[in-house]
Symmetry: D2
Subunit: 346 residues, 4 copies
């Protein structure tokens, strides 16, 4: 089989450039075209000198990307993906959306949290939600995939086995999450100006972040009940990584062994989820530059609270890595192709 031709729209953003980097090392795919509105006509390596001589491809237009590629990854501002997806759909090309346009099933939730509308309702019927560990079968062979957000990958993977097995009370779930700053994108802001973020730590969009309905949608699908979560994101002065510390009350009578058994069973064949040995805590450091999600479990016997802590690289499993995992599933490749890089120890 000839290599899959990969196109990236919005290649100079953090997610887009990371997809390019992964594809450069992918054994069955090759970068065919990239685009960028801000840097059209410039080489990717002029924007990111780390890529010098390794990826000097020049940024063209969206149209060129669609034309030259079998699969198009789109890292666009919210609202702009739908038209592009439609064009790809018409031409029979696979479209993997890094944004939120196709993530929420209910249009009114999209309207409430993102302020937009569903301009191609028929496409929303076709779109699948690309969280492979939870919805793998739906993704295989599909041509329109909504890649989840970063928090919305970390929180469900921390809680899925317990919710699926009905071991937790579904009310009162809390997700206290901490993200590295690449999640906020490449555009310089006052908040992420080095002197202001360095040696700082705070929360933002407290109980008010757009990923809330997406997390709830996934948790509700898992449990079969309507779940609301209190979600508080924090900003870490590090580049990469999300740590999700999730709290839920155990249902009466649930034992620690039941919990561990549920997780072991659920994740035993997953290549990218590493259930850590008892006593060890997930650390963002251990998954950096990789597609792994580390999961660790604790119980507070004094209060009957379950604490699940997961770690991902927000740019890996939380964005570009997972997108390539979805590409692999869509094209029937080995799911781990190009993604088994060992996270550096330091």
């Amino acid at each position: 089989m000839s290599a899959i031709k990969v196109g990236v729209v919005g290649a100079t953003g953090y997610a887009g450039s990371e997809i390019c980097r992964i594809i450069l090392g992918h054994p069955q795919a090759k970068l065919a075209a990239i685009s960028s509105v801000s840097f059209e006509g410039m080489a990717l390596s002029q924007v990111y000198p780390a890529y010098y001589r390794l990826c000097d491809m020049v940024c063209g237009t969206q149209e060129e990307v669609v034309e030259k590629s079998d699969v198009i990854f789109a890292a666009l501002p919210h609202g702009l993906s739908q038209d592009l997806a439609a064009r790809c759909w018409e031409q029979g090309k696979t479209f993997i959306d890094m944004g939120a346009d196709f993530r929420l099933r209910e249009e009114d939730e999209y309207q409430e949290w993102y302020g937009g509308t569903y301009t191609h309702k028929e496409l929303h019927e076709e779109a699948v939600y690309g969280l492979p560990e939870l919805f793998r079968e739906e993704i295989k062979g599909k041509k329109l995939i909504a890649n989840p957000g970063c928090y919305t990958t970390a929180v469900p993977l921390a809680l899925a086995p317990a919710l699926k097995q009905g071991l937790l009370e579904t009310g009162g779930i809390i997700a206290d999450c901490k993200s590295g700053v690449t999640g906020a994108g490449r555009k310089p802001t006052q908040q992420n100006h080095y002197p202001e973020l360095n040696e700082s730590f705070t929360a933002y969009k407290v109980a008010n972040h757009r990923h809330t309905p997406e997390i709830e949608q996934t948790l509700s699908r898992l449990s079969g009940e309507g779940i609301k979560v209190t979600f508080v994101p924090h900003l870490l002065p590090i580049n990469r990584g999300i740590l999700a510390t999730c709290y839920a009350r155990l249902k009466p009578g649930v034992t620690e062994e039941q919990l561990w058994e549920a997780y072991r069973t659920f994740y035993e064949n997953e290549p990218f989820v590493r259930l850590l040995p008892k006593g060890q805590v997930a650390n963002v450091k251990n998954v950096r530059y990789s597609n792994f999600c580390d999961v660790s479990l604790f119980i507070d016997p004094r209060t009957g609270t379950f604490v699940a802590i997961s770690a991902i690289d927000n740019m890996g499993k939380g964005a570009a890595g997972q997108a390539v995992q979805n590409m692999n599933l869509s094209f029937g490749l080995e799911e781990t192709a190009g993604l088994m890089l060992v996270p550096p120890a330091f």
Copy 2:
């Protein structure tokens, strides 16, 4: 009045050295003697070159410190403060303990969490808990003061007004805390070796940290009910600061305005607690190198959850600053003397 003579036992640890720094700028106190087991005979400025020519005092013995000082701050490993406190008590000197030996009222809790015993039970009757914003009247003029831990300052200050007014359910309280690394002390460890902590983030002692009973003791005193909390500390790759994100369920019918009113009233005359304007979130950056505690309030109307977020400098209000505040109260000085330093903007 002549300047209060201050002694610091364990002056070369982080808390001890910070007490020295504050005292050097205190208008009514002067550093009289310091001691260190590890660095006896060396100048403090040899251990911390930042102090060169500003505090070249040489480390002597505990005995010298007691003899030369009106007030002794003791930054000792847990268990070692009791004998020293007894000696100070006999000589009529004020003793401010930075460790845990006098913090817990119940000896069995001390035994459970610290593995030690109360060797001078009569002293434990005399000791007061030095969290001035909550127990100011008890501290004034006292000669044996247990300075609270860092987490145990941040969490109660975040929740006190609401608990005192009975606005919160007392079950299910969660304190998700994040601390800078100076809280772990000066001794090099693998975990805090620069290459391993840098760009990392994780939790530790999940639902199992020694500050748990101390937090519960304070919250229970405030509410009049026995309160259990789920307390999960995390380690931030920054030097200073604790952010405490505290979650509790609102009692039925409690309004947002009631909460704000409770906090405004409770803290309106406090010099060191800054209740932030609505919408602004506490950030460890804004209290660094100071004795301030910033408090911010949020409600998740979708789940009825109250989120109180406080920020302190773990070495300031969480240790040395609060200890000097207690000294001021003990000696009848202006409570803010030596402590009104403006936190740097960057």
Copy 3:
């Protein structure tokens, strides 16, 4: 004497806000008025929440600042200080310029490196260069003071005693400098965006930085010869501090003891220069948040090279601290007033 009324033009920049912070703790000065073009009408504490309740003064106009103040600190873009200085001069007010407009004696150098002209030539005759350790007597009582740049403080203080004593070859001097990022100002840029600066290190404006002629002017005044230096600045991923590693060839026959003696004599009565004991190296950490300059000396006997390493806080001795030191000299106050803060140990 009543307190000196201090005004700060450009108070919301990093240097301006740091001047405000120092003045808030100054025993003989008080903040009278501040201005900001970008934030007119906003409180300084809205821009820097660290100052909340400690400096809630509202930013007004330049005119208000001049009117209400005895001394005006101006932190303005290059070229804009001259008119303001003229207005202050007419009204008999002291003007301390944080920018470059009055630093260079030769207008053609100003034109070459900054691209501007001297619009008030008579004022340039009046201006003194405010590096107190080298030109103290000129500064006392003066009303128009050019505050040096950060690199231009660190490099001359490292080399002054040896050059003054004629111990070094004046050709081939190299200043390899490394600065914290606050030196680049508050405005967000791609280069100083957290994810891009974090874990990075590079040089910039190699042998081409605007501080070059200013360094040369000072070194030439010290030595009495025209000196050219190769100056290469680097950007450190830290907030504060400059380390200047300066290389020069020893004149034939110069001994190590002569060098040490020259430095000891030159700096023995300087309150803010700390000549470090032999073997100890200056570290930016030890001068943070202070007005100190640490100086350390080394000789490479294998090559006959002298290595002088100095450290300052680029926002302290490199900007705001030195500016207040100049104010003290101008007004006949104790030179150290408001400036003897002990650098934190961590």
Copy 4:
């Protein structure tokens, strides 16, 4: 050809663990055995949880490593490699030494700087110095390779083409180098304790570092003259990377174009050296987690000084990456095998 069996002695140190990580992704080599004195009997992934499920190999003894491997990488304290090298030599196995035992040609220099002796003089005759860009032909097929140190890779690669062409004065060369902290190893120390290194920057071993004679040996071989350099290393508060800022005087009449031409010619076919376009400065960020060396050139026309700035990952091209490159040369593989990983953009 079956995969080369790789053994790593001292696998739990930073260099050793990084070799393991590279080998895990090498298409023609596989990890056969690892050893560690400190962690014998433990899995590498227990020491570095980043490797969990990816490299759970258990640390055995040196003997086991030698027995099971075709090539042995030894990351041992100075002085301990010689005996091990002798054992490998006897058994016909390739030995790549990460330490200094075989780097210096002159035993008296080894004695002066390392305090040891050459216990197997005949082996020192066989050893080649593994800096492929400079000595490639010597390395091919050899079985005893001294892998250069980190500074001793960065400085020669910055200066080689100009020295080789005789464009520089050989006296007065200065190498002002800045290294990330992983270069100091995994063992916790006070200096590298997070709170003390964070936000700090200083020099160390000024004009007195052990890499000095090794740098001089290489530069002298290149130029054919005995060269002495003033070498001052600094410690950066980042994990990975060395920036070498090298200063030398141009020989009379040498033009900028001659310099560029010399570098272009010298490096045009080098896969791992990236000569940057004029005006761009090498940055450690752009080579992290890779085997690349970026080189940038500048001239200070005002002083006739040449400034060459190179950047490497001290653990990549400065240690583990270069060691694998040497393995590839020794075994006749493609020199880039396993090493063409794209450095991450952030």
